[in-house]
Each structure stands twice: as C-alpha cells, then as structure tokens.
C-alpha cells in the first residue's frame, strides 16, 4: 500500500503545482496580450543584453541560428557565439559566412577561470556579432568565457540548436524591467520545433512533430513548462531555468562564481547557487518563468540520443542534489530549503527507486497470491490516470493562454500521445534516470552523443 500512497502523495503535489499554474494563467494571458512591445523594442530605455551561444559541433544549424539571433526585435544587444573546440567546421563556416577576422588584443574584462581562449573573431559590418574560439571545456566553461568577454549587464544563455521568437527577448526584458532590483534570472518557454515549418531562421508554421520520440517530448515539455514551472515560479521555488533560453543578471552570476564546469546540469546548478547566494545574503530576489518568451529547439529523434540526454539529465540532477544537500530542510533557505529541494530529492531524484521497488513489491505480492491482482491494477490505474490528468491540465493551460496548435486534430493527437506516453516511454524515462545515476557512481562524466540535423531538413515534409 505504501507504493500506492506514494503515488497519490506525489500526484497531489503535482496537482498543487499545476493548480498554481492555473491560478496564474489568466494573468499571463492578459500580460501577453495587452503588453506593448512595439514601443519597448525600439526604446533606448530597455537594458542591453549579451546573448551567449555555446556551440560544439553545430556546423549544420549555427548559421541559421546566428541569423535568427541577429534579427530579434530588441534595441541593444550582442551575440557572442562560443566555439567550444568543435571538431567539425563550426568556426570556419562562421568565419566564411560573416567574413570575420581575428581581433588583435581583444578586451576580456572578466575574471572567471576558463580553458584557453584561442581567439576572438569579429567583423565591423556586423558590429553586434562576436565569435570566441576556445579549447574544449564544456558548456559551462563556454558560458563563462562568454561572460568574461560580454559587454552588457544582462546575459542570456541560448543553445545553438534553438531558435528564438523575434519578441522572445523583449518579452523577458519587460518582465525584468517591471522588477529590476529583484529579478536575478528569468527562464523562457522551450518548445519542440520538430515538425514545424522553419524559414529564414524562424518558425513560420507551428505543427506537432511527425516522429514518435519528439512527439512524446513535446507533451513532456508542455507539462513541465506550463504545468510545472508557472506554479513553481509563483512561489519563487524554481530550481531550474532551462539552458536553452534564460536571462540572468550578470553581476549575480559572477558573484556566485559563474557556471560550474566539468559536469552536466549547469543550468540547474546556477539557479540553485543564485537561490543560495541571495538567501544567504538576505537579499530580496525572484527567479521567474516567462512562458510567453518562446524558444524553439530541436528535440532528439532517435533512441540513442534521447537516452543519452536523459541519462545526462539524471546525472546532473543527482550531482546537484548531492552538492546542495545542505539546503535540504534548512529553514534558512525558505521555499528552496523546505519545499523545492526536498521535493526534488524525494519526487524527482529518488522517484525511480520508489516506483521500481513499489512495483516489484506489488508484483511479488500478487504472484504469491493471485487474488491481489486488483491492487496491482489499482496501482497501474493510479499512475496512469493521475499522470494523464496532469497532461490534460497542461494542454488546457496551453489552450487558455497560447493556442499555438490550431487544428482540432492536433488536440486529438496530443491527447492520444499523452496516454501512449505511459506505455513504454514513461518507463524508459525511469530506467534512463537510474542509468544516469549509475554513470554518476561510475564517474562517467561525458556529455554523450548529440547529433544535429539542418533546420532545412527538419522542416521538409516526411
């Protein structure tokens, strides 16, 4: 029965967070619909932002992404691509496309330790574009190199495989300007671009993915971002701002020592460090989520890549929880210490073990006495229905505030895949997380395979 109660308690918590998301969704809808962006996006009063784009072997997508980033509706910003020792032609395609030349004695003002920077490339015809070429050191190391070189007080980390909507940055900046003293980090909404029509570095027509793996991830992201992060943001308990798209106050990122290198999960780590720093120094602060600022990303579409990604996430999560175990149930850290961290340890990090042991116990119990098959069935139904209800909730949130998927057939497809997710995909997620933990114990610290395909190929009809 413990397993059944565990499932019920964890789902009641999920429901509470989703409930908070529902509480906020109308406010989000209104601010997204009635806020004025046309004046702001041409205003000198908007803070300047340095976009940091770490790139490792991104030769297929990088040019389109840089063009996308250089044409945002934003008054003053710079794009800093950090080539993290790519073994492909990422650097040379950039140099060729933008006719870049190596800067002589470039000015690097920052002090965060990074791997050796081999050079910085620039072309005065594209004054807001800089390419940092450095020795391979990982994503965190690249972001730190970008911070050291950046010129503006706000930084935004963006994955090189992601496309920002033209208004995404100004929407985040509006949120920042409404509370500039307290806002230390703002996360954007990450959506799956597979299946969408992409032209000139922008998503022109939104469609659901055609392949099965990205489709599952599409539902998963909707659930995590709309169902989860809006609620967590409401109680200032966000534990992560997605590495794919986030905005940060540079002074505080530097105050916490920049990104932690040498291990995945740097996006969660920086947010935990920011919480810890602000709470330790008794400074008022907010880590917020801005769902109307959208970034489209390429989701892995093969088993190998998605399993690698999920194992990496599992490893990163475990590492972060172990590193910050001192915050657990520590009243000094308020919502983070009393709710977010315990929730993450009990219901995210350790979730697979509770579920697996519960399931094994139930199976054993049922095998011993077949008359108890009802309990097993109840356990499965509980898991499935509560999870499905959360997915339905996330789709309702999407329909209330954003309505990106217009067709009725899209709705059916989302409802169908929300159910199918529990037959195989969900279980694989549990296994991948356990495998990630094993990798952690074996001190396997690699990023894993992550191949890209060109945006052009992606948007071609199947």
């Amino acid at each position: 029965m413990v397993a059944i109660y565990y499932v019920m308690i964890v789902n009641i918590l999920y429901f509470t967070i989703t409930g908070l998301s529902f509480r906020n969704i109308f406010k989000i809808y209104r601010r997204s619909k009635y806020s004025s962006y046309n004046t702001l996006s041409g205003s000198e009063l908007v803070p300047s932002v340095s976009l940091l784009v770490p790139a490792y072997n991104e030769e297929l997508t990088i040019i389109e992404n840089v063009y996308c980033l250089m044409t945002l509706n934003y008054p003053t910003y710079e794009v800093i691509v950090i080539n993290d020792g790519s073994s492909d032609h990422t650097l040379s395609v950039l140099i060729k496309e933008f006719k870049l030349v190596k800067m002589v004695n470039p000015e690097i003002r920052g002090t965060i330790d990074t791997n050796n920077v081999r050079g910085i490339y620039h072309n005065p015809d594209y004054p807001q574009l800089f390419i940092i070429d450095k020795e391979n050191g990982g994503k965190a190391d690249s972001l730190n190199a970008g911070i050291n070189f950046s010129h503006y007080p706000l930084i935004s980390s963006i994955d090189a495989d992601s496309l920002l909507e033209k208004d995404a940055l100004i929407r985040m900046a509006r949120m920042y300007m409404e509370n500039p003293e307290e806002m230390v980090a703002i996360g954007g909404d990450v959506r799956i671009a597979n299946g969408c029509l992409i032209e000139n570095g922008a998503v022109q027509k939104v469609s659901l993915p055609r392949k099965i793996w990205p489709m599952f991830q599409s539902i998963e992201y909707l659930k995590a971002f709309l169902g989860g992060r809006i609620g967590w943001s409401h109680i200032n308990g966000l534990v992560i701002v997605s590495g794919a798209f986030g905005l940060f106050r540079k002074d505080y990122v530097i105050a916490v020592g920049g990104y932690r290198g040498g291990y995945p999960g740097e996006d969660m780590n920086i947010i935990i460090k920011l919480h810890r720093y602000m709470l330790s120094h008794k400074l008022p602060y907010k880590v917020a989520f801005c769902p109307e600022a959208v970034c489209w990303t390429q989701a892995p579409d093969s088993y190998k890549i998605i399993s690698n990604q999920r194992m990496r996430w599992g490893r990163g999560n475990l590492k972060n929880m172990i590193e910050n175990r001192g915050m657990l149930f520590n009243p000094k850290y308020k919502v983070m210490g009393m709710i977010t961290m315990p929730y993450n340890v009990l219901f995210e990090t350790l979730n697979p073990y509770f579920r697996i042991t519960g399931l094994l116990a139930l199976l054993g119990y049922t095998l011993l006495d077949m008359t108890h098959w009802r309990i097993l069935l109840t356990f499965f139904l509980l898991n499935f229905l509560s999870g499905y209800l959360l997915s339905v909730g996330a789709i309702i949130l999407e329909e209330i505030a954003f309505r990106r998927f217009k067709k009725l057939s899209d709705l059916w497809k989302m409802l169908l895949f929300s159910a199918l997710k529990f037959v195989g995909y969900h279980q694989l997620g549990v296994i991948w997380r356990v495998q990630g933990h094993i990798q952690y114990l074996r001190k396997n610290n690699s990023w894993g395979a992550m191949t890209r395909q060109s945006w052009k190929e992606e948007s071609e009809p199947a």
Binding site: Y34, S35, N38, T39, N105, I375
Partner: protein, 399 residues
C-alpha cells in the same frame, strides 16, 4: 486493506471525472476559438471595402462615415481593433479623426461601461482598449483602477493606457506617482510609459525635474536620454548638486553629454567623484571638449578601478590630438597592469581605423598618430604583446 483501497478507488474516480471534464472543456474551447477566428476573418473580408474607404479618406476634411448596417458584437470588435491599429500608426489630424470615429461608433462608451464590470479580465481589457482609443474621459477611472490595484504587470498595462489617453500633464504625473509608490526602482520602465503620452514632452520633463519626489526626478532624467530639450539645462545644472546619489549621477551624465564648457576645478572635481558613473561620464566628455589640459587627469584615470572609466579615459585621450595619443602610447609602454591594458586596446583600435579615412585632414591626423605609434612601438606593424592575465586585475562587469 479495504479502506486503503477505497481511498485509492476514490482517487481514481476523481481523476477519471476530472479527465472527462478536462477533455470536454478542451474540445469546447478549441471549437469556439477556431470558430471565433473564422468569423473574425469573415468580418475582415466583409468590411474590406469600408476599411479601404477609411484609409482613402482619413486625410480629408469632414466627418467619416460610420461602419454600415447593424453590427454584431464580434464585428464591432474587428472594426475597433482595426481603428486602434491605425491610431497607433497615424499621427496628427488623421489620428484625431480616428479617435473621434471610435467615439461616434460607441466603442469608447461601451468600454467605459465595461470598466465597471464585475470581472477583472473585462475591466483590464477595457482599460487596454480605452488607451488604444486615447479616450481622455476614461483617465479618472483608469487612475482609480491603478491606485486600487496591487503592483503587477497589469499595473503597467493600465499605466500605459493612462499615458496614452491623458490630456493633462497632472494626470501623467499622478499616474507616475502611483506607479512608483510601491518603491520599485522601475524608472526606466516608467520613463518608457511616460513617453507614450501625446502631451508636449518638454513641459512634462520640466515638471518632473522640478518635482520634490526624487523618484519622479529620476524618471525625468532617464526619459531625457535621446531627447533634445534645451529649456531643461538650467534645472540640470541645479540637479548636478543634488544630494540624492542616483539623481546626481544621472544629472551629471546628461549635463556632460551636451558638451558644456567646464571650468578646470569642475573637471578635477568630477574626475575624482566617488561615483564611478560620474567619473566615467566626465572622462567621456573630456575628449569631445578638446580639453588638452586634462590629459594628466585622463592618464591617471587609466588606472581607475572601474573599467568604464578606464575605457572612456583612453577613448578621450585618443581624441585629444597628438598630445593625447602620445600620452596614451607612453602609458602603454611605461605603465603597468590595467593602465597599460586600457591604453593598448585603444591604440589598437585607433591603428585599425587606417582603412576608414577618406578626408585629407583625417588622413593627416592618422599619419601623425601612426608616426607617434612607430616611435614608441617600432615601424613594423604588429600587434603589441599582451600581458595575459593583466585584464583580470580589477575586472568588473558594470557595462
């Protein structure tokens, strides 16, 4: 065991019920949203000729015709949206005529009524629309709505509507006062909202700068960036001596950006100010002023703890002719640490300008700098060796 299972069954039934409800709600929402979208498109097509008529006659004298026939609520909304879009785009008489059209068609009246609605969503939507239609009669109600609400993104939407609709500067000031009463340092956003007003910006800025409230003065100072308002210069001169640290820094930056004549003791005072923003602004101003006497001060400022001050000092030295550039070369060769770094970077930038000169005078000036450079660093043009790690000393991120 039975009671445990009963709890689980109840949980399952509740989930099932909620799922069924959720799916029904989803389908209902999707169908109604799609239907509304289709009807909107249909009405846009239906009134295409009317929209063409308005666009063709909006610049002509005389009243414009109202939309023809009896309109359905959504149809009215489609026309109102189009009018609001044009009000944003047009200026002057065209805009006034469209605003009058909104009144004549009853759009303003309907939204004024909606401001009293029980539902907050309707009230906010009405506030947004009234701002879009520049409805001055809505300002008192909007001000009340702003003052009664808690500070949030919604306050910003209401404040923008007030700024757009107000015809009296007192209303804009009242709106700013209310917005800033929550103690948030939102001066940049408040200035952006204020600049949406159709009122004369010059007199509004004067009122802001003359206000007793430092927060309002800051909004005025921030809003002045990029605005040429000569009549505020005397007020700025007074604010330079303000006791409020932020106000003083902003005032000094603005004052110096207008290239005023400065006395020697003022220059010394500003370059030694405790606030880095003031020092940086002073360093930046000295170059265009061609104040060759300030070279020693600028050379000293190359060692300032703040990057921006060092950067601006080097930039100004490069603008102070041969003497300034020579001082820069000396600092690069004999100086150390951050001073050397700042000087070297500026020298590199100046030497890179070689390709850009077309005018004879510029070429002569460049060649003189080139000669000075070669005297210090040798004839062969090659990058000056960088002392790696030096930039780390005193590095900061205050862009």
């Amino acid at each position: 065991m039975f009671s445990h299972l009963t709890v689980a069954y109840t949980f399952i039934y509740v989930c099932l019920g909620l799922i069924a409800l959720g799916i029904i709600l989803l389908i209902q929402m999707k169908v109604s949203h799609n239907k509304e979208q289709q009807r909107r498109e249909m009405y846009e097509r239906k009134h295409h000729d009317y929209f063409m008529y308005i666009q063709a006659h909006v610049e002509n004298e005389g009243a414009l015709r109202l939309p023809p026939g009896k309109l359905k609520p959504l149809e009215r909304r489609v026309i109102q949206d189009k009018f609001m879009e044009w009000i944003e785009q047009f200026k002057g008489e065209c805009r006034d005529r469209l605003i009058q059209m909104c009144r004549d068609a009853g759009f303003v009246e309907a939204d004024l009524k909606a401001l009293g609605s029980f539902r907050y969503g309707r009230r906010l939507e009405a506030a947004y629309r009234l701002g879009g239609m520049r409805a001055e009669e809505a300002v008192p109600a909007l001000l009340k709505m702003l003052q009664e609400g808690k500070y949030s993104s919604m306050s910003i939407i209401i404040a923008r509507s007030i700024a757009k609709s107000a015809r009296k500067s007192e209303d804009v000031l009242e709106m700013l006062r209310s917005l800033l009463s929550h103690g948030k340092p939102i001066h940049h956003l408040a200035a952006d909202i204020m600049l949406e007003t159709g009122l004369d910006a010059g007199s509004l800025l004067m009122k802001l700068l003359d206000d007793q409230d430092p927060a309002l003065i800051k909004v005025g100072l921030v809003a002045m960036w990029g605005q040429a308002v000569p009549e505020v210069m005397p007020v700025l001169g007074r604010l330079v001596g303000s006791e409020e640290k932020d106000v003083r820094a902003e005032a000094v930056k603005l004052y110096l950006s207008s290239n005023p004549a400065l006395k020697d003791e003022t220059i010394v005072q500003l370059m030694n100010d405790r606030n880095w923003e003031v020092r940086a602004a002073a360093a930046k101003a000295l170059g265009p002023l061609h104040a060759a006497g300030s070279i020693p001060l600028l050379v000293k400022a190359l060692q300032d703890a703040n990057w921006k001050v060092r950067h601006n000092s080097a930039e100004s030295l490069a603008k102070l002719g041969e003497a300034g550039f020579e001082a820069l070369c000396q600092a690069a060769l004999s100086g150390a640490g951050i001073q050397r770094e700042a000087a070297l970077q500026r020298i590199e930038l100046e030497m890179e300008k070689e390709q850009e000169h077309s005018a004879i005078e510029q070429m002569v000036a460049y060649n003189k700098k080139r000669l000075i450079h070669d005297r210090y660093f040798g004839v062969k043009r090659q990058p000056v060796a960088r002392v790696t790690g030096v930039a780390a000393v005193g590095g900061d991120y205050t862009a």
